[in-house]
C-alpha cells in the first residue's frame, strides 16, 4: 500500500531556519579533542531543507544534534531557530516543537502504536479524539494501516515498521524542525533504501527543516540538500551541497572521507536529462535502404537506429547489415541497447551501458519516444568535469517518487 497523500493540518508547510553560531562543546573531564566535543561550529540551514551532518564516529555530529533540542547544552555559542536562541526557551516547550528520531527508535514498549504516535499531542494537551485522529492520519502517512497497527504494541512490529512509527511519532505535532540521528541505521540495507526513498518523498510534501546525522557518506549524499562534513575534534571540515562536496573536497580529510570513488558517487547526483543527448541516425521501417545506408556511412557511429511511427526505438541495424537497395524492415533490427529514462541517475545509466554490447544508450521520454543517445564517453566526461554539470534542484524528490512508484511500500512483516 503506498503512502497516502494525507494533507497536513495547516495549509502551508511550517519550517524554521536553523543556525549554528560558533557553537562549542567541551567535556571538562576529558582532554580537548575527545569524542563528542564540538569546536566552533557555524552553519545555516534554510527552512525546509535537509542538512546532513556526516563524519567518522566521535566527530561530534550527534552532540551537535542534541544541542539543538538541548539534550546537551553548548559550552558556548548559540543555536537559533527562526532567529530565536534555543537557550532562551523553556526546554520542554522547545522539545515539543522539535521532532526527534533516533536509531534505536525508542518507542514506548508499554504503549500501543497509536499512543506512541500521539505522545507529543498528549503532552500538548490535545483532546483524545483529536489525538486519535492525528495518530491515524500519521500512520497512514508512513504507510501503516491504522486499523491493523493502531492497537499493537511495539514488540509486535518489525524493525522497519518500528522505524516508520518513530518517524510518525516525531511528526505528530507537525514540528517545524526535525532531528534525525541515524534514523535508518538499525535496519537492513534493503529496508533502509526503501525507508530513505519514502522519507524523501514524504519530505517533498512536508518540507520540514531537518538535521540528519549519519556516518555513511552515501546516505549523506542521497538524503542531503546540504552536507556538513565533520572531523574528529568537532570541526566543520566542509559545508555545501552534495555536488560541491564531491566535486571539490575542501581538504585532504574530506577527499578521503568521501572516498576515492567520488567521481562515481557524483554520477548519482546527476540524471540522464542533465546531458544533451547526441542526435541518433534514425529511420523507420519502409524507408529507402540505400539512402539510409548512405547516411550511416557518412556518420562515424556505424549504426542506424530503427524507430516506429511514434518514434519508439525498435533496434539497431549495423551499417554492413543495411541492404544496398530495397526498404528497411523490422526484422533487420537488433534490440541490443539499453533504454535510458531521463530520470535515471548517470550512475545507473553507466552501469547499464557497461553491461550492454553497444555502449550507447537510447534516451527515451516518458512516452517512450526516442530523444537521442548517451554514450559512455559522455558520462565519463561528466566524471572528469563534475563542475560543468548543473545538479538539478531539488534532487532527491524525483528519485523518491520513482522509487515509490515502483516499489511496494508495505514492507513484509
Amino acid at each position: 500500500m503506498p503512502y497516502g497523500s494525507v494533507t497536513m493540518p495547516q495549509q502551508s508547510p511550517r519550517a524554521s531556519t536553523v543556525e549554528f553560531e560558533h557553537v562549542t562543546k567541551h567535556y571538562d573531564t576529558k582532554a580537548k579533542g575527545t569524542p563528542g566535543a564540538v569546536n566552533d561550529l557555524s552553519f545555516q540551514v534554510p527552512a525546509g531543507k535537509i542538512c546532513v551532518l556526516v563524519g567518522p564516529s566521535g566527530c561530534g555530529k550527534t552532540t551537535s544534534l542534541k544541542m539543538v533540542n538541548r539534550l546537551i547544552e553548548p559550552t558556548s555559542g548559540r543555536i537559533l531557530l527562526d532567529g530565536v536562541d534555543a537557550a532562551g526557551r523553556d526546554v520542554t516547550e522547545l522539545r515539543r516543537g522539535i521532532g526527534y528520531v533516533i536509531q534505536q527508535v525508542g518507542l514506548f514498549p508499554h504503549q500501543t502504536i497509536g499512543e506512541n504516535v500521539a505522545t507529543v499531542p498528549r503532552l500538548l494537551g490535545w483532546s483524545r479524539a483529536r489525538r486519535r485522529e492525528r495518530a491515524e492520519e500519521l500512520l497512514d502517512l508512513v504507510g501503516l494501516a491504522p486499523a491493523t497497527y493502531r492497537d499493537r504494541y511495539p514488540a509486535q512490529l518489525s524493525g522497519g515498521e518500528r522505524q516508520r512509527v518513530g518517524v510518525a511519532r516525531a511528526l505528530a505535532a507537525d514540528p517545524p524542525v526535525m532531528l534525525m540521528d541515524e534514523p535508518f541505521g538499525a535496519v537492513d540495507p534493503i529496508v533502509r533504501d526503501r525507508l530513505q526513498n519514502e522519507f524523501l518523498r514524504l519530505q517533498e510534501e512536508l518540507a520540514k527543516t531537518i538535521l540528519f546525522v549519519t556516518h555513511d557518506i552515501d546516505e549523506a549524499i542521497k538524503m542531503g540538500d546540504l552536507v556538513a562534513v565533520m572531523e574528529v575534534g568537532g570541526k566543520l571540515a566542509q559545508f555545501g551541497s552534495p555536488a560541491e562536496i564531491l566535486a571539490t573536497p575542501a581538504s585532504e580529510f574530506v577527499a578521503r572521507f568521501v572516498g576515492a570513488d567520488r567521481g562515481l558517487k557524483r554520477l548519482s547526483l546527476s540524471r540522464v536529462r542533465d546531458l544533451a543527448p547526441q542526435p541518433a541516425d534514425t529511420a523507420r521501417p519502409g524507408d529507402d535502404a540505400a539512402e539510409a545506408k548512405h547516411r550511416t556511412v557518412a556518420s562515424s557511429f556505424g549504426y542506424l537506429l530503427l524507430v516506429d511511427a511514434s518514434d519508439q526505438p525498435i533496434g539497431w541495424i549495423a551499417q554492413h547489415d543495411i541492404p544496398p537497395a530495397g526498404v528497411l524492415d523490422e526484422a533487420m533490427a537488433v534490440p541490443m541497447s539499453p533504454l535510458l529514462h531521463q530520470r535515471a541517475t548517470l550512475k545507473d545509466a553507466l552501469s547499464l551501458l557497461l553491461d550492454a554490447d553497444v555502449q550507447a544508450g537510447i534516451v527515451v521520454d516518458r512516452t517512450g519516444r526516442t530523444l537521442g543517445l548517451v554514450t559512455v564517453d559522455m558520462i565519463a566526461a561528466v566524471m572528469r568535469e563534475g563542475e560543468h554539470v548543473v545538479p538539478e534542484e531539488p534532487h532527491p524528490a524525483d528519485e523518491a517518487s520513482d522509487e515509490a512508484a515502483k516499489e511496494p511500500l508495505a514492507e513484509p512483516a
Binding site: L71, E93, L94, I102, L107, H110, Q156
Partner: protein
Amino acid sequence: MNWDWLRSNVPALVDATVDHLILTGIAVGVGFAISFVFALVIHRDRRFYGPLAGFSGVVYTIPSLALLAFLVPFTGLSLLTAEIALVGYTLLILTRSIVGGLDAVPREITEAADGMGYSWTARLVKVDLPLAVPLIIAGLRVATVTTIGLVMVTALIGEGGLGQVMLRGFNFRNTTAVYAGAAVTVALAVVIDLGLVALGRLATPWTRRS
C-alpha cells in the same frame, strides 16, 4: 492430628490469619512507601544511593530477635515494635528493586522521552515507573513472602498472627496447632505470591502480546 481441636479452633485460626495479613500488609505497605521515597531520591540524585542502600543494608543484617529485644525497652511489647522491625527488613529489598526497575528502563526510551519534551515528573509517572513494574513486582514478592515468615517471630512480643498459634502449640505440646499454624502460613505465602504475579501481569499487558 487432633481433629477436634482443629474443628473447634477454626474461628481462632481465621482471626490469626487476619492478624497475620494485617501485620504483613502494614509492613509491606509502609516499607514500600519509605522505599519508594528512597528510590526516587536516588533516581533524582545518584549520590544518595550509597547512604540509603547502606542504611537499609545495615538494618537488614540485624538478626530479628536481637532487633526486637533492642526495640522493646523503647516501644514496649506493641504492634509498633513489631512493625518497626518488619518494615526495616523490607527496605533493602524494595529500595533495590525500585531503583533497579527504574535503572533498567532502556536508555533509548528515556532519551526519546526527554527529546520529546517530557518533564522529569511526567517521564517518571508515564514512562519510567510503568516500565519498572516487572522488577518492582519481583521485589514486592520477595519482600512479602519474607515478611509473612518474619511475622511469626513477632509472636515473641505478643503479636505474630499465625505465629501465636504455633508458639502456643509449642508451649502446650499441641502438634496439631503447630502444624496448622505452619500450613496456613505457607498457604498464605503461596496465595499472596500468586496474587502478586497476577497483579504484575495485569499491570504489564504489553509483555504478553508479541
